[in-house]
Amino acid sequence: MSQAAVEHAPEHYRSTSLPDPKLMMWIFLASDCMFFGTLIGTYLVYKNRSLEGPFPVDVLDIPITTVSSFVLLMSSFLMVLALHALRTDNIPRFRLWTFGVAFFGSVFLGFQVFEFSTFVKEGLTLQQNLFGTTFFTLTGTHGIHVTIGVLWMLSILITSYVRPMSSKDALYLEVAGLYWHFVDIVWIVIFTVIYLVEFV
């Protein structure tokens, strides 16, 4: 029996053409649907059941949230551009757009921090009422997802300086991208269900 240290990456036999990491990510996202489904479901169940204020209509700020939603949507747009750039081996563009994604994500997080601190100033804390409890938990969990995404993007960006990247590595950016877009679509749902519908 001969054993050789691995010098080149081995190719495995696979019964489908679906890359493992990408398949994994999709399954994770399917699972994440249930995570956010539970959080949003809890929010809906407790909607209008807070015993004392501040109530959603007192604190939610539609114009600001619209801007932050737009920022997050555009980060998604930059994400596909980055992937496209990497696939076409346009590394400078890829770096630019990846940085853009991380930057826009950070801007979104900045909006969220601003929003949270405003709410706290207006008397809405985690412990104040059911709205505070469910709202902060839901948007906070989403914020943590965004944070992880930003860190992921920055990691990819830094990696691209440490070692050369090419279109062969597109899969890993694509997987990160899937995650990023998912965070985006969750926000689309949150924006509608929590923010907009409240003011109908």
Partner: protein, 625 residues
Amino acid sequence: MAVGRQPARPVSEVKLLARPTWTRGLLSWLTTVDHKRLGILYILASFFFMGLASIEAFLIRLQLTRPGLSIVSPDVYNQLFTMHGVTMVFLAIMPLGIGFANYFMPLMIGARDLAFPRLNAFGFWVYFLGAILLYTSFFFGGAPDVGWFAYSPLTSLSNNPGTGTDYYMVGLFIGGIGTLVTGMNFIVTIINMRAPGMTLMRMPVFVWMILVTAFLIVFAFPPLTIALFQVIMDRSFGTLFYEPAGGGMAILWQHLFWIFGHPEVYIIVLPAFGAISEIIPTFSRKPLFGYPIVILSGIFIGFMGFAVWTHHMFTTGLGPVVNTAFALTTFVIGVPTGLKVFNWMATIWGGRVQFTTAMLFAISFLVTFTIGGITGIMLAMPPFDALVQDSYFVVAHFHYAMGGGALLSFLAATYYWFPKMTGKMLSETLGKWVFWLVAGGFYLIFFPQHFNGLAGMPRRIQTYPEGLGFEFWNVISTIGTFVMAVGILLLLYSVILAFARGEPAGNDPWDGRTLEWSISSPPPYYNFDEMPVVNDRDAFWAQKYPESVHAKPVEEEFEEHGIHIPGQSWYPVIMAGALFIGGYALIYNNWWLGILMFAVIVIGSYGWAFEGIGGHHIHPEEKEA
């Protein structure tokens, strides 16, 4: 389906910790990523926790033997039945199924490991350490005492100021993460790593059931995880999710828990179905009757598992509309379950049935599960459920369905697969004794509980007054525990005996039908010398007796460039350890420790990501040399 090749993983190594290369010794087990070793770890851990849960059950039964006993105080009693339930469901039977799947699913589909070996190791260590965390509660202020479904508001800080509930929430939260990643890993493995020719409809039923189970895990655990998280938030940060005084609704916890909880029943029992679907054909020397029907009904059961959750809540006043709807969906599940039983019986019909211990357990499973199913249908009738919900009738029912169903079939699986895992045969003579003691003891314990339930004995009471008609059957039930305990001890002895001087098993002691029997016992670490090529259902049978199944040769072509054995890694156990310690930080609200562990996890995930490919290549064609 097209055959693809995985793109190369980028080779960029930032080595914080070198990939370990031990092949034996404790450290090799700690850092292993081999699915077989992890499977054995899962099975051993499951049996260990099952032993603990049995001791708890034993104390419960002793306490209930006679009215008015005080062998354990009410508080300790509450802890005992809570830990018994939690352990059996989360730490023993479910991981046992996962363990068998871990060991045999790759072998059955002709794979050399799971798709993500390190993630698999991570899954195990997280489960194991989560379980340990849960059990340390006994030493730090008392175990959880809120029942295995921990109904709010019993779990709120005002009603339960001790740390037991925190241990429950955090322990299951951590353990749940492990199960979740393992479920995802299983799906990718089954989709992507089947041997050439192993189409979906040629997969062994066990693999199919594991696939369904994995999907159930992936979709059912998130609601539980979030619900646990909400209670942790309530207890650590003073949120109001389940605080009635703040408007929180206790009933929401029940919904979220059972949205998870009912699929959990199938997460436990579907692998058991799968194992039975392998054992019965093997010992009948016939293929499984109605293969597509068994699989479809498994999928259907899994799907419907998400649509029946409020049948655990018929008495919570949901109203007749909801109760009707969920009673009907529950009845519907009876149909595919019945179909499965019929198909198993039809498999026996016309076969050459060999009464090995495994087969005896399998047959007893059929009977037991049928009884459990029938009482299940009874309990699905909301009016009757109102009469006996939370009584010993329910206790008897779910022990027949989950305890009898899953446990008996996993004992069958143990007898069936033990030779493959160890290369030694378990004594059949002792095995018959084990069977009659365990199955007999089981019936002695749990059948009378139906009667006690009908006599009006509620579950979870530490004692009961005399004269209510509970006395006789409680004594019988306790006697049963002794019988079953003897059986289990005998099994233990039998295992030791097998290691000491068991007969060598050979590759294929049962004349098996699936691929795991085509390789040596125990299997080599690389599983298959060369990638098996599958040309029929029951792949190994078709290789052995091609004329009996008119097997057609496979059309898929492939070439193999040597076998890559994934390298061991420190990171799974480090990350799991960080989660474990972080769990204590969460329980005691020690944020500095929490931040520290969080940092370890962040650094660990970078180390994990940039660890490099590791492992080594072997070339099977040179193996003989």
